[in-house]
């Protein structure tokens, strides 16, 4: 056996150079499990009480392998840490000054902020779902898309492989901030796609339009008016004028939320701000066709960071 065997199938005498490179590069490996959560640096995380819940059941298709019916967690407060187990159907509630960190089976973890309430509805290889009744969670998930779902009274947050913070208040209003990856918010067939760095508000009336927190005050103000009060032509024009290149995320979502001349003005503004490839059909966007919208999404999404 030679050192070449070690490079080939890790048998034989270890090659010192290969071993050294393995050790140096190993930290870059995709481990398939969540790394330590990122240190809080620039995110502002105001607490808002309340949430509602929901959960989407995943359909178990071919197999029904045995799976644990509980998540382990660790509570932390001024007195120290206390371990526990959250069984399916049970609630976990944190007191003021207390947090709880839960393992989402083997796909990630979530942190429950103080004065929050959460119930585990299902945990299975085909899907995991919780109900956030009140408070705030931060989730970090490394798994195939759509395997982890959080329902609130207003919307369902579907994880597409990411890290995010979700909070809701007593009235069902809430906010989603995505740090890594993507989360889809869905309600009654209506969808908001929230990529890394973006935010989406939720309210009793429905899901808001995703935007970046760094958008101008004018855009955020006019967007809030659009989301809560509907179309007002002069205000909508102000919104479009205030949009910058990064705001094509918001504009993309406005395409299916507008009609006629308003939609045409949105498409025009997207085109002014971002050069779209030929495969993005303007007529398809004007018609609200899913193919055109998805092509436009694929073209725009990498310009948002």
């Amino acid at each position: 056996m030679t050192t070449d065997d070690y490079l080939w199938d890790k048998t034989g005498d270890p090659d010192p150079d290969v071993v050294r490179l393995e050790e140096a590069l190993g930290d870059l490996r995709h481990v398939g499990a969540p790394r330590r959560p990122p240190a809080r640096r620039t995110w502002l995380l105001p607490l808002i009480a309340v949430a509602a819940v929901l959960v989407i059941g995943f359909v178990l298709l071919l197999q029904d392998p045995p799976a644990p019916d509980a998540w382990t967690y660790t509570r932390t407060d001024d007195d120290g840490t206390h371990d526990g187990s959250l069984v399916v159907g049970d609630w976990l509630e944190t007191r003021p000054g207390e947090t709880a960190r839960l393992k989402i089976a083997d796909i990630g973890h979530l942190t429950l902020d103080p004065e929050s309430r959460l119930r585990l509805h299902a945990t299975h290889q085909s899907g995991h779902r919780v109900e956030l009744a009140r408070g705030r969670i931060e989730a970090l998930v490394a798994a195939p898309p759509r395997l982890f779902v959080v329902d609130t009274a207003v919307a369902t947050a579907i994880d597409m492989g990411c890290a995010y913070a979700l909070e809701v208040d007593d009235d069902g209003n809430g906010r989603l901030d995505v740090r890594v990856g993507m989360v889809y918010l869905e309600r009654d067939g209506f969808e908001s796609r929230v990529p890394a760095g973006a935010r989406c508000l939720m309210r009793r009336g429905g899901i808001g339009t995703p935007h970046f927190p760094g958008a101008t005050h004018v855009l955020r103000e006019e967007l809030h008016h659009f989301d809560t009060s509907g179309m007002d032509a002069p205000r909508f024009r102000r919104l479009l004028t205030a949009a910058r290149s990064a705001d094509t995320l918001t504009l993309w979502h406005l395409v299916p939320r507008t009609i006629g001349m308003a939609r045409a003005s949105v498409v025009d503004r997207i085109t002014e701000l971002s050069k779209l490839p030929d495969e993005v059909s303007r007529s398809g966007l004007l018609a609200g066709e899913e193919t055109a919208l998805n092509a436009c999404w694929d073209a725009l999404r990498w310009t948002w960071r």
Binding site: K10, L25, D27, L28, R29, F58, L62, P65, Q125, P144
Partner: protein
């Protein structure tokens, strides 16, 4: 003695054949792909677990380190949607690698890779200097060797595993690893021949 010699010769031929033939996907893997094609998320989850290192290595060969995980999820999301259109379950690995390469190429075209990291990248996600240097050296290698070396050195896959999951012939993978490592040694000034 003559029979023993002939038997040994046949055995050597079988070993050579098994080593250097294009790997055939294990029956259970074909079943997973078929099940995932029909919408079985458990099966797709198992494929995700098996192939995530391969996809990650392909992405690392082309895009910034901090983008690779995001892109990886995007690749699997695309694969999940497109899986019903995959005609040959046995070609899943090579098909997935092509999706990963296309996504990486799209990403590279649309973005400039900045030298400075964005402020919101967590501190513990910044690779150490030695890792960055090694990664840069691998990325500077001919494309033929780049992905294979990353699968071996970063993701820890063995040569036979790389062959099985990419659809490449084992012999090709072995050559890529050997030649790629030779170039890498010279590039990094490593002394071992």
């Amino acid at each position: 003695m003559a029979v023993d010699a002939e038997r040994a010769s046949v055995q050597r031929a079988c070993v050579k054949k098994c080593t250097y033939e294009r790997p055939v996907p294990a029956p259970e893997e074909r079943c997973l792909v078929e099940a995932a094609r029909k919408g079985n998320r458990i099966a797709f989850g198992q494929l995700h677990k098996a192939y995530a290192p391969v996809v990650h290595a392909v992405l690392l060969s082309k895009v910034a380190y901090q983008d690779a995980e995001d892109l990886l999820q995007d690749v699997f999301a695309k694969a999940y949607e497109a899986l019903p259109r995959l005609r040959d379950a046995g070609a899943f690995g090579g098909w997935l690698v092509r999706i990963a390469r296309n996504r990486a190429a799209d990403h590279y075209r649309r973005r400039r890779v900045a030298d400075a990291l964005p402020e919101d990248i967590p501190v513990d996600a910044v690779p150490a200097a030695e890792a960055r240097e090694a990664l840069a050296a691998i990325r500077a290698l001919p494309e033929t060797y780049r992905e294979t070396l990353l699968m071996r050195l970063v993701e820890g896959l063995t040569g036979p595993e790389i062959a099985a999951r990419t659809g490449l012939k084992a012999g090709s993978v072995r050559v890529n690893l050997h030649r790629g490592m030779g170039l890498l040694r010279r590039s990094l000034g490593l002394e071992t021949p």
